[in-house]
Amino acid sequence: MAAKRGRAWTFPANVSTDLIFPGRYVEFLSDNAKLRSITLCDAREEFAPNVKPGDFVVADDNFGMGSSREQAALMMKLCGLSAVVAKSFARIFFRNCINVGVPAIELDTSDIQDGDELEVQLEAGRLINHTRGRTYEFPPLPSVMTRILEDGGLVAHIKKHGDFVV
């Protein structure tokens, strides 16, 4: 994950996995290029065609609610996002993000406007809003999740350690 800086794409509360990856595209399940092209299509049509590596998804509460479909988290990675930032996450989506190697950051996003230039410093627990000249701090992930993220995802974590390192 080279890029850590990019623009904010804002989303409201309760964006479901059906809005991120609608069931009608189930045939894209194993096709990463197609998956990327429909990311969040039912929430914000212009997102997938315009998102650039390094950008951020910034949401209100309960982002990723609903289904366990891991492709919804994988799509965040395929878009090259620096991080997904939300006031809160649905738990399965949150866990999936970490497992595929996408930082999911919980913090109060009320201040962030669409198009703001953001930069994340994961180790320091800081999100910088260059547009507004503000810095937001966030607490570290549970230890096991930090390890999984550092190792580049759950498969790499298990390959490296042979087990979950709690």
């Binding site: 309760n14 479901s16 059906d18 809005l19 609608p22 069931g23 009608r24 189930v26 045939e27 399940l29 194993s30 039912d42 509460d61 309960n62 609610m65 609903g66 289904s67 366990s68 479909r69 891991e70 492709q71 988290a73 809160s88 996450f89 649905a90 738990r91 399965i92 866990r95 999936n96 497992n99 595929v100 549970p142 230890s143 096991v144 995802g153 759950l154 498969v155 298990i158 390959k159 087990d163 979950f164 709690v166």
Partner: protein, 421 residues
């Protein structure tokens, strides 16, 4: 220290008392995936250099979402899962057996177990007092590989249901009311525990609605203590020996406690596009119904169809309404057939599909047209859920759905039953 049901089950697996917030590594008793979560899970197992399962008896694959398949790609995914399950000699349920969660409670899940499934409604197993939770494909794959997973011990919420259940009001109405009250994120990361005299008196098929929909409030698990009703249900499915009693300790600490008096509830409707947009039926106003869908892991059991059939019997669905019924398991399918329930639905002008997820995931057998309204027993009404983001989904009990099919609009089933007979 007194522990909640969720804490007790985890404690029994890790060999020590646990506190909310604590991270634990725990053995998992049952791990399953289905035709949507399975292909990626298998790919991840291959990626890790998997050679075989250490404990194959804990692993299950189901083909339930596309059942039977309607695309070539799904057919190939099914073939891959079928061959993988055969090669590794794990339990396998082919198309036609039903929704994974319902088959799991009929045949596999035991009280006090920890269960991980590659589907958000895995929490269904909480009806049998199992700590059952949904995860993504990679988590499921690694849990299958290692036989264990990590968990953060959830804080618990206690829902105490009491009062006299009014006629026309069902567990679905109660659960929709609860989600309307606490919101779609009101239980995020938490365990919802359902107790009280209303739950105690409820048979299992009714209890299942509560844990099943726990994820709709964001919960990690939904739990009902195991008791005589649990024992009866297990015995009915030839598993009397699987019963053990599980309940929270008196004095256990809950993060929130809710007192729910069901006596004054009326039938509830979850309106588009979130499960917490819940209104009593009297406040919904005129909503034309184009399709009624009966089924899913939430309300696709024998008794759900009985309740719908009691409303439908001797009547015809309104002109322009499609009534689609999909049993949640082969067991339900066969028992309902023997009882003549399908005859009632077919004579009313409805149709009956093969067991499985059916129209719920929006990929087959009942996709909605633009601007159509569907009244359904399913568990979520998200925009696009049934295959079309321009359609609307309303959630209700089987009886309310049946009444809507006859009227061609959302109506109060209590009135419909009165003048319908």
């Amino acid at each position: 220290m007194a522990q909640t049901l969720a804490e007790k089950i985890i404690a029994s697996h890790v060999g020590k008392e646990v506190r909310p917030g604590e991270l634990v590594l725990t053995e998992v008793d049952l791990i399953y995936a289905h035709d949507l979560s399975g292909p990626l899970a298998i790919s991840q197992l291959e990626a890790i250099g998997f050679k075989g399962f250490k404990r194959p008896e804990r692993i299950v694959f189901f083909l339930d979402h596309a059942s039977p398949v309607s695309t070539r790609q799904a057919a190939n995914d099914h073939k891959r899962i079928r061959e993988f399950a055969g090669e590794h000699e794990v339990r396998f349920y082919d198309v036609g057996n039903g929704v994974s969660h319902q088959v799991a409670v009929e045949e596999l899940v035991k009280p006090g177990q920890i269960v991980v499934g590659g589907d958000s409604h895995t929490c269904h197993g909480g009806a049998l007092a199992a700590f059952a939770t949904g995860m993504g494909s990679t988590d499921v794959a690694m849990t299958m590989y290692l036989g264990r997973t990590w968990l953060r011990v959830p804080p618990s919420q206690r829902f105490f249901l009491h009062g006299t259940t009014p006629a026309g009001v069902y567990p679905k109405d109660m659960m929709l009311h609860i989600i309307g009250k606490i919101s779609v994120s009101g239980a995020t990361y938490k365990a919802m525990e359902f107790v009280g005299p209303v739950i105690d008196q409820m048979p299992m098929y009714h209890r299942m609605v509560f844990p099943n929909m726990a994820v709709e409030a964001g919960a990690k698990v939904g739990l009902v203590p195991s008791d005589e009703q649990t024992k009866l249900y297990l015995a009915e499915h030839g598993r009397a020996g699987d019963y053990t009693p599980w309940a929270a300790d008196p004095g256990a600490q809950y993060q929130e406690e809710y007192d729910i008096d069901v006596s004054r509830l009326e039938p509830q409707i979850a309106c588009p596009h979130n499960v917490d947009n819940v209104k009593p039926v009297s406040e919904v106003g005129y909503v034309q119904v184009h399709q009624v869908y009966l089924g899913t892991c939430t309300n696709g059991r024998l008794e759900d169809f009985r309740e719908a059939a009691a409303v439908l019997k001797g009547h015809k669905v309104a002109r322009g309404v499609r009534l689609v019924a999909t049993p949640a398991s082969r067991d339900v399918y066969m028992k309902a057939a023997r009882e003549g329930i399908w005859d009632i639905i077919l004579e009313a002008g409805g149709l009956v599909n093969s067991p499985g997820c059916g129209a719920c995931p929006g990929v087959q057998t009942g996709i909605l047209a633009d601007d159509e309204n569907c009244l359904s027993t399913l568990n979520r009404n998200f925009k696009g859920r049934m295959g079309n983001p321009k359609a609307n989904i309303y959630l209700a009990s089987p009886a309310t759905c049946a009444a809507g099919a006859l009227a061609g609009e959302i109506v109060d089933v209590r009135k419909q039953v009165k003048h319908g007979r």
